[in-house]
């Protein structure tokens, strides 16, 4: 079955607005990782966040493992944030990806 569900599937923002991306997982995952995929295809790891809250610049990752959910908050969005954001969880030493949230930030 579907291990990881992301929402929304797509999101359009005006530059400067904030965004909250959600990730829900169906298994008893122990670790959650967020990735950003450039429009050209390259994948970049944003957070490796087993639990709690982590910050990097304008990004905040929060993982609540016992509730099987995570979120990625983007504050003061910029046009360069446009792309696709994936969350992935591990289960039995394997990683499962969601289908991503496609973000477009307009100037």
């Amino acid at each position: 079955g579907q291990q990881v569900q992301q929402s929304p599937a797509s999101l359009v923002l005006q530059e400067g607005e904030n965004a909250e991306l959600q990730c829900n997982f169906s298994s008893t995952a122990t670790r959650l990782q967020w990735f950003y995929q450039h429009p050209g295809g390259r994948l970049v790891s944003l957070f490796y966040n087993p639990s709690g809250t982590k910050h990097t610049g304008r990004l905040t990752s929060t993982t609540v493992t016992n509730e099987r959910r995570g979120s990625l908050h983007i504050s003061s969005s910029q046009t360069t944030d446009s792309g696709t954001y994936f969350c992935a969880i591990d289960n039995n030493n394997r990683i499962f990806f969601g289908d991503g949230t496609q973000l477009v930030v307009k100037p």
């Binding site: 990881v4 295809g41 994948l43 790891s45 994936f86 992935a88 394997r94 990683i95 990806f97 991503g100």
Partner: protein
């Protein structure tokens, strides 16, 4: 930061052709993975390995073989390529099975 490289970056072949995709990681990670990504979707695991000579089957293994020749090198083989295998292929490595994954730049494969 882990370094994962892939070659070629782009490949075009014909139906029935033979293709080998290469991946090398230089951080002595134990685990290596091959994924495919189709337009509008997340990554799906083809094969993975936890060490030289080891191979584990992923979620979408049909039509693919893989071989881990060394700690650093993991190859994906398509022996009779089909148009359904047109996709973006990523290699990744991690220190352990549930560890943080580091991805290569991807190989875009087109099967005509």
């Amino acid at each position: 930061e882990a370094a994962v490289t892939q070659s070629p970056r782009n490949k075009v072949t014909v139906t029935g052709g033979n293709v080998t995709l290469s991946c090398r990681q230089t951080n002595s990670h134990n685990y290596m993975y091959w994924y495919r990504q189709d337009t509008g979707h997340g990554l799906r695991l083809i094969h993975y390995s936890y060490g030289a000579g080891n191979l584990q089957i992923g979620d979408v293994p049909d039509g693919y073989k893989a071989t881990r020749t060394t700690q650093e090198d993991f190859f994906l083989l398509l022996e009779l390529a089909s148009p359904s295998q047109t996709s973006l292929y990523f290699c990744a490595s991690s220190d352990w099975g549930g560890g943080e994954q580091y991805f290569g730049p991807g190989t875009r494969l087109t099967v005509l």
